[in-house]
């Protein structure tokens, strides 16, 4: 059983490499596509990191409804519990 704050912290770590030199400070409101410029190739890298880190499988149908870090963390919470 993992709690939301814990998931969020882990997610920040996973996302850090995607920040690169964009000067974005990660928060719940960070937009994955808008702020972190995650295209479909980077998205797959991100999903792999997440699946390995949390040991889950993220179904492909949840992606269209994820825009922000918060959306993603909430979805992970749902998948993990």
């Amino acid at each position: 059983m993992k709690q939301y704050p814990e998931i969020l912290d882990a997610l920040y770590e996973v996302l850090q490499p995607f920040v690169g030199e964009k000067g974005v400070v990660l928060s719940e409101d960070t937009a994955l596509v808008g702020d972190l410029e995650i295209d479909s190739v980077k998205l797959l890298e991100l999903m792999m990191e997440i699946e390995d880190r949390f040991d889950i499988s993220v179904p492909i149908n949840v992606l269209p409804d994820i825009t922000t870090v918060k959306d993603l963390a909430l979805k992970l919470e749902e998948l993990l519990n």
Binding site: A31, G34, S40, L43, P64
Partner: protein
């Protein structure tokens, strides 16, 4: 319960797609022991469905369809996940006399609305009577069908509660449609390619007998999407109609863990697998030499490459990295095709590997003639600017091919023009689009492929596209879809944007959009550029280089129409993509 994969060796005499329809092909395959196997992203076998079971289950579903009293040939839209259910429902349609329409799956974040609109456009275009998706994708389908009048929208569980009819099944016959394919349409203005049973069967026979020369002992592996012509016709229908076993990995699972593709080939000792060049590049980038030594790819005799322009370099690196696995570079099989011809048009000779024609690039641009450069341009000082193209082989025997100039006159060898072809595996047209069909397919059966290339002896070399299609990572992107996104912005009006692709800094296709902008304020301009890039990324999942230009500077054709090809040419001439700063800058 432990699952066993279906065997490679069959108990049935091999037949090469000499059937009159797909149902009959499955009837035959069902008498053997081969079938389809599905693996998770971590390489675990999770479903096995032999052709025998596939036939049984498809027929049961077909009886439920029969009970719905749909008119013959009614369209059944299927959201095409890599899952046994897609095969069950696809063949159920074949047995029930209904036309299946595979629908795509998005791989991008936050694209909910765009996906729903895409589904709705396709469902409207094909006038679907039934639409089926897994539980995970059903909400999108429900939203997309809200204002549409369908007989049934649901998931397999709900469909399977419908009663079975005891009327005898009447499978689709040779002159009837086999399926409608939306591979080649833009997302907003989809075009459904209509392929009849005899059309697809002729192409399948060509692939099996001539292109890949399949036989007993062959086995396929595929991660290609089921809604794509290469994944669907090539790696679903080819295995069924040649009675060989096939191992499937989901497309997303492959893209996340590209090594799984090779692990699977190694494990099942598969002989045939296809991918776009991008797929080979993904693997090559992540594979370490010590991993290659643990794989056994010595049985892999056909490593098909197609679906986009083939650059030889990444494939050479792939072969080098994989040398310790026993991968034979002669297994590379360059091919050329499109959904409008069912799938395949030409294949390079088997066991040749990649063959390249190096030509004078300036001469080609100026005189439309592919003049070979001696020594492949090895002497840099003496040689002109060169380009190397992979030779895509001889057209399948049933095709007539002509390379034509702009006036429609047939051209000779090494003369570059638009590829036209005629033959039994050409589509019947675009569903419900007689006007667009007439522009593409002549009354006497010649298809304008929209691709540009030249003949080299009997072989074809593809050099580019006349139509403005953009292909990124094996995916077709229509410039109209990008331009539409631009025109949605308050600063941009209709006709202010042109999108096209240009070779990027490392030769890869890069998407470019040039937008006329009335705003002078640099802050507003920067905001427009970043907004556009973001919309493109979330709707289409690709990166796009956006350039703002002053009003009235977009190029036009002599008849006054905006010209993407001229914009593309201007862009290439004025941008030195070899200077990385152009790409890495603040754009």
């Amino acid at each position: 319960m432990d699952l066993d994969t279906t065997p490679t060796t069959n108990t049935l005499p091999f037949r090469a797609a000499d059937f009159s329809n797909l149902a009959e092909a499955l009837d035959y395959a069902a008498q053997g022991v081969t079938g389809c196997n599905f693996y998770t992203g971590r390489g675990q076998l999770y479903a096995v469905i032999s052709y025998e079971r596939l036939r049984q289950e498809a027929r049961t579903l077909a009886r439920r369809f029969a009970g719905m009293g749909l008119e013959r040939g009614a369209r059944v839209a299927l959201v095409a996940e890599t899952h046994p259910d897609f095969l069950r429902y696809f063949f159920a349609c074949q047995y029930a006399g209904l036309v299946p329409v595979p629908l795509p799956i998005p791989i991008s974040l936050g694209g909910h609305q765009a996906y729903v609109e895409q589904l709705r456009a396709m469902l409207e275009s094909c006038k679907a009577a039934v639409a089926i998706a897994s539980t995970g994708f059903l909400p999108f389908l429900r939203e997309a069908t809200q204002s549409l009048d369908l007989r049934f929208v649901g998931n397999p569980g709900q469909f399977e509660r419908l009663p079975e009819s005891d009327c005898p099944l009447q499978p689709l016959q040779s002159e009837e449609l086999a399926y409608i394919q939306y591979t080649s349409g833009s997302t907003r203005f989809p075009r459904g390619v209509m392929i009849t049973q005899e059309t697809v069967m002729s192409n399948l026979a060509g692939i099996i007998r001539h292109g890949v020369k399949m036989g007993p002992g062959d086995r396929c592996v595929s991660w290609l999407p089921f809604y794509h012509d290469m994944g669907f016709v090539g790696l679903v229908l080819v295995p069924v109609t040649s009675q060989v076993s096939v191992d499937y990995l989901g497309t997303r699972d492959f893209a996340m863990r590209p090594r799984q593709w090779l692990n699977l080939i190694s494990r099942t000792r598969a002989t045939i697998s296809f991918g776009p060049p991008f797929g080979y590049e993904l693997v090559e980038r992540c594979l370490r030499p010590e991993e290659a030594a643990r794989l056994d790819l010595s049985a892999w005799r056909v490593a098909g490459v197609g679906a986009e322009m083939i650059r030889p370099e990444p494939l050479r690196r792939f072969a080098e990295v994989l040398a310790p696995s026993g991968f034979d570079p002669r297994a590379f099989l360059a091919c050329y095709g499109m959904a409008e011809c069912s799938l395949a048009i030409s294949f390079a000779p088997l066991s040749r590997g990649l063959a390249v024609d190096t030509i004078d690039a300036d001469h080609l641009a100026k005189y439309k003639e592919a003049r070979p450069v001696p020594d492949g341009g090895a002497d840099k000082d003496l040689s002109p600017r060169t380009r190397s193209f992979v030779i895509c082989g001889k057209p399948l025997p049933d095709f007539e091919v002509e390379i034509r100039d702009e006036q429609g006159r047939p051209l000779g060898e090494r003369q570059s023009g638009v590829i036209h072809l005629r033959g039994p595996s050409v589509m019947s047209g675009y569903f419900g689009e007689p006007e667009i069909t007439r522009q593409t397919l002549s009354e006497d059966g010649w298809l304008n492929t929209g691709d540009v290339g030249y003949r080299l002896g009997e072989e074809l070399v593809i050099t580019g596209r006349q139509k403005d299609l953009i292909i990124i990572n094996g995916r077709n992107i229509w410039p109209q879809d990008l331009e539409y996104l631009a025109e949605q912005q308050p600063e941009v009006r209709t006709g202010d944007a042109l999108a096209f692709s240009a070779p990027g800094p490392d030769g890869e296709e890069t998407t470019v959009m040039v937008v006329q902008c009335r705003e002078k304020d640099p802050a507003v301009q920067a905001s427009l550029v970043s907004r556009l890039k973001q919309r493109v990324r979330s709707e289409l999942g690709i990166d796009c280089y956006v350039e703002l230009v002053p009003l009235h500077t977009l190029p036009r054709t002599s008849s006054g129409k905006l010209s993407r090809s001229k914009a593309r040419q201007n862009f290439i001439e004025t941008h030195d993509w070899h200077a990385p700063s152009v790409v890495a800058g603040d754009n």
